[in-house]
Amino acid sequence: MSRDRFLDSPTIWVLLIGAAALFLLLLVGYPIAYNLVMSVQEVTLGNLPSFSRPWVGLQNYRQLLADPLFLLVAKNTLIFTVANVAVQFVLGLGLALYFQLSFPASSFLRGLVLVGWMLPPLVIGAVWKWLLGSDSGFVNYALQGLGLISGKIYWLADPLLSLVAVTIANIWFGVPFNMILLAAGLAGIPTDIYEAAALDGAGPVRRFIWITLPLLRPTIYALLSLTTVYTMRAFDLIYTMTHGGPLDSSNIFPVWSYRMSFELFDFGGGAAIATAMFALVLVVALAYVRSVNAERPM
């Protein structure tokens, strides 16, 4: 039974984690380090192929902070992320709870909602750009038809609204992801606990607060962190819908980084933004692990 002894030894744990870790370290760790190095160098198209480029220390970061766009983009990223994470979660939870009720075709309908998540971002961006168009967009047409607005709403062209517009589209895109993961979490809650609670006279609201939410907590933590990370790297949708405009009113860090690198060829600046994003997400990841570890071990 030497195989079993091996499988019970601590070595196996190291191997199990090691395989995935090595894979990620090699294929993502290297690119992240590559970005980090670029962020402290002066990188041009000319010296891009070699690593021996002029060292500029924190110059790229200083320039970033001094850029008049920095505060605007940071604010946009914050609003975009918070709004997305919160609304996607609330809607996702609502839908997950609704489709968990027993009624005919509930599972089928829940699966159908996932279709929105399958479309390529390019197509989602294009469709939403039409729906939100101020002249012939369906949203304005419907709102006018319902008598809710008399004029037009410039969803995309108004710098005060463009962030709202891309946020709506991105929420739409992210809700199924939240819903399905929460549904899976709900499915993991043993029904006998509910039955016992019902016998004790607990109403649906109390059962939700005292049973569902606590048992769902691991899923919720994971989901909130993942949604935060995914929202912070959202790129295609905004790029297709507004390109970050007008006047950078819908510009967020990944879009800015992309434009700096590939439109202005300021690779050091683009890399500095990427590194800053990485640092931000590190904070989110730390928060996640802390909250997970605060759970009582099962």
């Binding site: 984690i17 995935a20 390529p120 197509v123 469709v127 692990v289």
Partner: protein, 287 residues
Amino acid sequence: MSRPGSAGDGVRRALAPLRPWLLTAGGVVIAAVYLFPVYWMVISSLKANPELFAATPTLYPHAPTLAAFRWIFARENVGLYLQNSAIISFSVTALTLVLATGAAYALARIRTFWTAAMVVAIMAVQVLPPPLLVTPMFVIFRQIGLVNTQFAVILATTTKVLPFAIIMLRTSFAQIPVELEEAARVDGCPRFVAFFHITLPLARTGYIVVSSLVFLLAYGEFVYPLSLMNHKDLQPGPVGLYSFIGADFADWPDALAFATVFVAPVIVLYMFLQRRIVSGLTAGALK
């Protein structure tokens, strides 16, 4: 909060048999509202260009035409794109599940400083979007001679979905009481066997959801295939979609027809697998 015997209670009792159907109706409405943009995509692919951008949007195609569909099938080897997409996404899903299972299980069962640090790292490496990662990745793939192969795309795409799979599966494993495994082991069952016979089946909901989402994420990936492969006949659907987004203008009915054809097989696949997926997602699967 109606008291027993009140009028409201009577109404409720009378409606009770209808309740499931009312809920179904509500579910249909939710799905319909939610899927409206998808509906818009499909009807737009059936509209000719002027109607597509009419000042007053038309809720259904007034002059439906299949021209866009005929056009894309005449012009592009749609089947090949779908085949490439399928090969890539199934491989990514398989590779991801293999790599994620061990790591997720180990990270769920062992709690040390190092495993916590691993989780932080795994969460954080997801943040950079593919356009910023692909250049250094290309360097690696060239070193190992994988440029221009679907294998490179599979590996690259796996890096995008693996952290997600590890984190979610880890959550699933963590919810399974370790006592169940220990009880089996007391009966003389090795950990390996206990894992496959007890833990894995209990985590099936997590697996179903994670593998579906991983598959869909891989199915839509665009930057990696475009950047890592040069030959058109290796490319998946999202790259094909760009054939209709020209340098100067996009032929939207064609692009949308292509997108519709691109997602249709996945929807059909879902219909077929639906029963299985549903049984995994039924409330209280874990008893």
